[in-house]
């Protein structure tokens, strides 16, 4: 009895919160087949967690299967707070995680939980934005940051502001495609963003930022031919700035890009914010400003995500304003024309982040990270209307969704 009491006292005196911490999450259902794996990234921009759903049914497969605390060292964590998911699937169904904070591209196998990692920093904070697998031995990594102090050796590929070419099988660096010459203003950082692969071309929007972020040029879309690793086509979009994400519509052969406008020029941000549409197959193509930001209820900017279903049914969000308590709003717009229609409201300001289209079920999933009813909101779109289906909670009691990827 006395020893039991002493043991209790000792346990209380040396209590440790982390002893009750859970490890990586457990599977609640079988891992879906390749192509039906919906990776959901939850984050509060301080730490991150990767959960898995079935893309078609939105059934949760496992919550927080890999997260920031899965492994921790003095220098890094398994996942930093600044993470994104790849937007192009790998043929083997592994999930591509781009850790912008640590400049590492990881491939996570949901079947075995094996993790392969490729550092793409080349010695500096390169801020990778996307990773596009080309084949089993070639992958493009879009790096936004320019290295102001590169070495003289061009063979170490440490210049940045480029597309780094790596072999995903062994992590070997194969080369780089310099994006700097393609910035729309001389000397600016081209600052490539999230990419879309269309057949043998990879399309990348360039943000054209001044080195000190004090000014931003107009957007340019650039296509890289994947066999020759050269820029083969450019399309300028002089009416918009800061285009971040694109959605590809194979049936219409159109690329839809969302452009929130220049944050650095807040007063005029709305003048350069909107939705533009490209016809990548047309070599003489220029962009069409399909919608200005003000078409979405008078907004002065847009969210950074866009998702479209066949037929040109698309969703985009407009951010709320914390000072006034205005919530984010979710809008539907049609490429065929007509005024955008608000179909929902986010759970708060800056709550809506991440969109992906599931063509088979005519659904677009929207991340709403603080939504109590579920952070993965489901909108079923048809020609006649929009129905919101019950939301799914990707990570109960954990970090809400900010990005999606289908693998």
């Amino acid at each position: 009895m006395r020893w039991a009491l002493l043991a209790c006292l000792w346990a209380a005196a040396c209590a440790d919160d982390t002893r009750s911490a859970g490890g990586d999450g457990t599977y609640e259902a079988a891992v879906p087949a390749v192509g039906d794996r919906l990776a959901v990234l939850g984050s509060d921009y301080k730490s991150s967690a990767l959960s898995l759903l079935a893309a078609d049914s939105q059934q949760r497969v496992g919550a927080a299967l890999w997260h920031s605390g899965s492994l921790v060292s003095a220098a890094t964590t398994a996942l930093s707070g600044d993470v994104a998911l790849g937007q192009t699937a790998m043929s083997d169904g592994r999930i591509i995680v781009i850790d912008r904070g640590s400049a590492v591209v990881s491939f996570w196998d949901p079947l075995t939980r094996a993790i392969q990692q490729i550092p793409v920093s080349t010695g500096f904070y390169s801020n990778p934005q996307d990773a596009v697998p080309i084949d089993a031995h070639k992958m493009y990594v879009v790096r936004m940051k320019r290295n102001v102090q590169p070495t003289a050796d061009p063979g170490d590929f440490d210049e940045g502001d480029d597309v780094l070419i790596v072999d995903p099988s062994d992590g070997k660096l194969l080369g780089r495609i310099d994006l700097s010459p393609w910035a729309t203003l001389p000397g600016y950082v081209a600052a490539g963003s999230r990419a879309v692969r269309i057949a043998d071309r990879v399309w990348i929007p360039l943000q054209s930022l001044a080195a000190d972020f004090s000014h931003q040029g107009a957007t340019r879309f650039l296509a890289i031919e994947t066999k020759k690793d050269t820029v083969i086509q450019i399309v300028d979009a002089p009416s918009v700035k800061n285009c971040i994400e694109m959605a590809w519509l194979p049936d219409l052969q159109r690329l839809v890009a969302v452009c929130p406008g220049a944050y650095v020029d807040r007063a005029a941000q709305g003048d350069h914010a909107g939705i533009v549409v490209l016809a990548p197959g047309d070599v003489t193509s220029t962009t069409t400003l399909a919608f200005a930001a003000k078409d979405f209820g008078g907004a002065t900017t847009l969210g950074r995500d866009v998702a479209c279903l066949p037929g040109g049914h698309c969703l985009v969000a407009t951010p709320g304003e914390p000072d006034s308590g205005t919530h984010d709003r979710i809008w539907r717009f049609e490429l065929t024309g007509g005024a955008p229609v608000q179909i929902g409201e986010g759970s708060g300001p800056f709550a809506v982040s991440g969109m992906t289209a599931i063509a088979a079920s005519h659904r677009i999933l929207v991340g709403d990270r603080t939504n109590a009813a579920g952070d993965v909101r489901v909108f079923e779109l048809s020609a006649t209307g929009t129905v919101e289906k019950p939301a799914t909670t990707s990570n109960p009691g954990g970090l809400g969704a900010i990005d999606f990827g289908v693998f």
Binding site: C14, D17, T18, A49, A74, T76, I115, A211
Partner: protein, 702 residues
């Protein structure tokens, strides 16, 4: 700019605090019996109480450190405070690095700081960098956990650090210097002189550290150890240069005038996260503080005391990262200018009742210049008025004290322009705050060796100008913020027992605190964050501090802290989880052995600290394990020559310690220190013990 660099920059900016300094009359003393600069005889093996009581409020849970303790053990202020019950100090790097104080799990922004009883004003919210403070020029440190004495100011949320600088009473000087691992060097000197009516003292301190310690570099690929390597931390050097100057003029028997100046300069590299170390990014900070105090006694009533202090301070901070090694290129300088006037009058009223009244006014602004664009950022400013009243009751015979107090404050804050750069919408915004705080506490000297106490406190913290108006873009402002409020319930007792061969003193406290409208920085996206009243928290715990002397030669000092800090915000991802960076339990122990041999005194010592594992993020995903730190050393003193030599080893077991992922701390370090005192042992009056509870105990030395 990615938020990955924000923790560092915030911490560095947080260290760029404003402070004010004044020499004034300790509340329990008179101008002619100010606590004095102790002479070497008492400093080496003085008559020291084991757990000195707080001077200003016997009902408080408090930690007290004397300058003798700091100098005898050659402890920096961060090191000394980190070993106290209920306190924790966080450092981003090694020797001399910025250090922030947390009391009872409250952040450093929630801790009020007073230097010589004049408040350190923090308009932009930066807490005091403890490493700015020169331990060699400290007379006394008092930390009031969860409260603020009514003679100082309104009740804070976290607690109060009261720092008293050495008073100019001796004649002579001292100098000491040391060197240690990773280029650590420090030199400190002090001089003092006095005549019948005038006393002058000054001190200077220089600190340098290369900070080039090794750490394990994983290349960001934690699952691939083949590319791991040991690297040397770079761009982590720092230099500090600071000093104090004080003067006291006894005008007549009733009035005296005191003046103080305190300056502290810092220049250091900002190394960046270990994964992407910088080469040129750097921080500079220059703090200039001055105060003049008029002190009086028996002015309007017998035994009353009055203090009128005028303070001014200037704090300049520069962050220089022209190449954007930490994210976005950045080159800003910030100036914080503050003026304050404070009047405190303490007087007996009738019988057991006395009164403490306090009036203060403050005005200041924060101006920022962007060096990259050559533009001046919008200026923020604040004016405030504060009034406080305490009505302590003290029944001498029964030993019961009841201390009620109340304070009100009105603040007016505004930003002067709507220009913005970059990323930020700014409006000409006025924020008005009316704050009130109160406290009711009681203590009872039940037995000569036992004194229990109980207290209830309502404290507040007004949003800072940084929180209201943001910075140059990465942090958005929120002019609608409400003040944080905290309700704290305290119970505790101090006990002390003496015998022939040993003494023991124990102070134990239990507390429960509910903090609402917590202002926290929340990321709105990967590039921006903003402050919101988004959280509430529940904190409770137990703190025990003990000290004992055995056989007149062995002294043991230890502490235990249990702290339960839970998020009660109701947000699904955080509710019920532990607040980050708050270990649930901590232990510290120090043992000193004194052996005299002729003119030499040998003092070997060992130190130990155990800290529980804890989370580094609010989502409770990133955990760091428990760690044990063991150290020790030997100090040799030659009393006739007044010289000492000390060798010390910290973290002898080379335990890996992480306070913040990405910012590794050094492992084992060695420190060698040599000092020389040259004081004229004249008839300078010795300090009057200013607190009845601070009884002397038997001499340690035979």
């Amino acid at each position: 700019m990615s938020l990955r660099v924000r923790p560092l920059l915030l911490c560095l900016f947080a260290c760029a605090s404003h402070a004010a300094l004044a020499a004034d009359l300790p509340d329990q003393a008179t101008p002619s019996t100010l606590p004095t600069w102790r002479l070497p005889a008492s400093r080496v093996h003085g008559r020291k109480p084991d757990l000195p009581a707080a001077e200003l409020d016997p009902t408080a849970a408090a930690n007290v450190l004397t300058g003798e303790d700091l100098r005898d053990h050659h402890l920096s202020i961060p090191e000394a405070l980190d070993a106290q019950a209920g306190l924790r100090v966080q450092q981003l790097s090694g020797f001399g690095a910025p250090a922030l104080l947390s009391i009872r799990g409250c952040s450093s922004e929630q801790v009020d700081v007073y230097i010589d009883d004049v408040p350190v004003l923090s308009l932009d919210g930066s807490p005091l960098d403890l490493a700015d403070l020169p331990s060699g020029q400290i007379e006394r440190l008092e930390i009031y956990r969860g409260m603020t004495p009514s003679a100082l100011g309104s009740q804070s949320v976290g607690g109060t650090l009261r720092l008293t600088l050495r008073q100019p009473n001796g004649v002579g000087g001292e100098v000491n210097g040391g060197t240690g691992s990773y280029g650590a060097r420090q030199t400190e000197a002090a001089v003092a002189w006095h005549s019948d009516a005038l006393r002058i003292s000054g001190g200077i301190r220089w600190v340098h550290a290369d900070g080039d310690f090794p750490f394990r570099f994983d290349n960001g690929t934690l699952y691939n150890t083949s590319d791991d390597a040991t690297r040397i931390r770079q761009n982590n050097a720092l230099d500090r240069l600071g000093g104090t100057l004080g003067a006291q003029w006894q005008i007549n028997k009733r009035w005296s005038l005191q003046g103080r100046w305190f300056g502290a300069g810092l220049k250091q590299g900002i190394p960046g996260p270990a994964l992407f170390e910088s080469t040129t990014a750097n921080l500079t900070r220059d703090r200039q503080l001055a105060a003049v105090s008029l002190l009086g006694q028996n002015i309007w009533r017998q035994d009353d005391r009055v203090r009128v202090s005028l303070q001014g301070n200037w704090l300049g901070t520069g962050v220089n990262d022209p190449h954007g090694e930490l994210g976005m290129p950045w080159q800003t300088t910030q100036a914080v200018r503050t003026m304050g006037l404070q009047t405190v009058w303490q007087t007996p009223i009738a019988g057991v009742l006395s009164a403490v009244t306090r009036l203060s006014a403050m005005a200041g602004d924060v101006a920022t210049h962007d060096g990259l664009t050559g533009t001046d950022q919008p200026t923020s400013s604040r004016q405030s008025l504060q009034a406080g009243l305490g009505l302590p009751l003290h029944w001498q015979e029964s030993g019961i004290q009841i201390v009620p107090s109340v304070s009100v404050e009105a603040q007016h804050s505004r930003r002067t322009t709507d220009e913005s750069y970059p990323f930020t919408t700014r409006e000409v915004t006025v924020a008005e705050n009316a704050l009130w705080t109160t406290r009711l506490a009681a203590a009872w000297q039940v037995l000569p060796w036992l004194a229990p106490r109980v207290a209830w406190t309502r404290g507040t913290r007004a949003p800072t100008l940084m929180e209201l108006y943001g910075n140059d873009g990465v942090i958005r402002g929120n002019a609608t913020l409400l003040p944080e409020t905290a309700m704290t319930w305290d119970v505790g007792a101090g006990a002390r027992y003496e015998a022939d061969q040993w003494t023991v003193a124990v102070d134990a406290s239990g507390f429960y605190k509910q903090v609402d409208d917590l202002i926290q920085l929340s990321s709105v996206n990967a590039h921006q964050a903003r402050f919101d009243n988004i959280a509430s928290a529940r904190l409770f715990g137990v703190e025990v501090q003990a000290s004992t002397r055995l056989f007149k030669q062995l002294r043991l000092v230890g502490q235990h802290t249990t702290l339960v800090a839970e998020d009660t915000s109701g947000r699904p991802a955080y509710d019920g989880k532990a607040l980050p960076m708050r270990p649930r339990t901590r232990w510290s122990l120090r043992a000193d052995w004194l052996k005299r041999a002729g003119v030499l005194a040998w003092r070997p010592f060992v130190t130990g600290q155990w800290q529980a594992g804890h989370f580094l993020d609010a989502a409770n995903l990133v955990a760091v394990p428990a760690h044990t730190l063991v150290g020790g050393g030997l100090r040799v003193e030659h009393k006739p020559w007044q010289v000492f030599l000390e060798l010390r080893v910290d973290n002898a077991l080379n335990a890996p310690v992480v306070d913040l992922v990405g910012y590794p701390l050094p492992g084992r370090t060695v420190w060698l220190q040599l000092g020389w005192h040259m004081w004229r042992d004249d008839e300078t009056p010795q300090p009057v013990e200013t607190q009845p509870q601070t009884h002397d105990i038997a001499e340690v030395a035979p």
